[in-house]
């Protein structure tokens, strides 16, 4: 029988721990409820959290653009 070194023993123990230790967990935010309302709420909130930063970013870009245009306009007026 081939001799098992310390590295292999540690590996076997770690694999056994990996098999025994984990317990069942709720993997996603809607696993606790299978209701249609929960599914709808999940979609709605996903849309909210995805689109909100994009809208804020778009708003910020529009605001910067307007400020630049206003500054350009005042520069032209000053030069005339």
């Amino acid at each position: 029988m081939p001799a098992v070194n310390l590295k292999q023993k540690t590996g076997v123990i770690m694999v056994l721990f990996a098999v025994w230790l984990p317990q069942s967990a709720l993997a996603c935010s809607v696993c606790f409820s299978a209701r249609e309302e929960t599914r709808a709420a999940f979609y709605q909130t996903t849309a909210l959290l995805t689109l909100l930063p994009l809208f804020m970013l778009a708003g910020f870009v529009i605001w910067i653009r307007r400020r630049f245009k206003r500054a350009e306009g005042s520069d032209i007026k000053a030069s005339v």
Binding site: S29, A40, T45, L48, L49, M56
Partner: protein
């Protein structure tokens, strides 16, 4: 301040999302054994907060006008006063609700109520403190337009997010 408020908007959006998902998974919301929230009294308090936001808006308008510099001071004080009434009433409401048995650990509803409304309350307190500091600066004629504008954005955020929270938490 705009970036800070954007971050805060995402923070509240995350809280609202969690609240909506948990709420959708229950048959009865709020739970039958939990006290009801004071919808009508908080509606009046909502109007007080909106009035505070309007007063701040008027204060900013008059701030730039050299004709009547005292008007901005009065309007800003009025805005702070109305904001303080809102926060004090919220505190009173919390004391009453805790007395009726609605606590952080009494139910998921209670936990979410104190988390969301508490987060808003702490923001309102911080924004009021900022407004108070601005008021002191204005009194000494040391307030710049940029500083005033930054504090306004913070307060408008506190005022603007409240009706959404009121509709979601109190009315639904």
């Amino acid at each position: 301040m705009i970036f800070f408020v954007a971050m805060e908007i995402m923070f509240f959006a995350a809280l609202i999302s969690a609240y909506m998902i948990v709420k959708s998974g229950t048959l009865f919301w709020p739970p039958p054994d939990q006290p009801r929230l004071p919808v009508n009294a908080t509606a009046i308090n909502t109007l007080v907060l909106l009035a505070s936001g309007f007063m701040l808006f008027r204060a900013e308008r008059t701030f730039g006008q050299a004709k009547n510099p005292d008007a901005a001071k009065i309007l800003l004080r009025l805005s702070i006063f109305l904001g303080t009434i809102f926060v004090v009433f919220q505190g009173y409401e919390w004391v009453k609700l805790i007395g009726f048995g609605l606590t952080m650990t009494s139910s998921t509803f209670g936990g979410f109520f104190y988390l969301i409304i508490g987060a808003h309350g702490s923001h309102a307190l911080a924004a009021l403190l900022v407004l108070y500091l601005m008021q002191r600066k204005l009194h000494k004629n040391q307030l710049s337009r940029e500083e005033f504008w930054a504090s306004q954005i913070f307060w408008y955020f506190v005022v603007g997010v409240w009706p959404i929270l009121y509709i979601l938490v109190y009315l639904n």
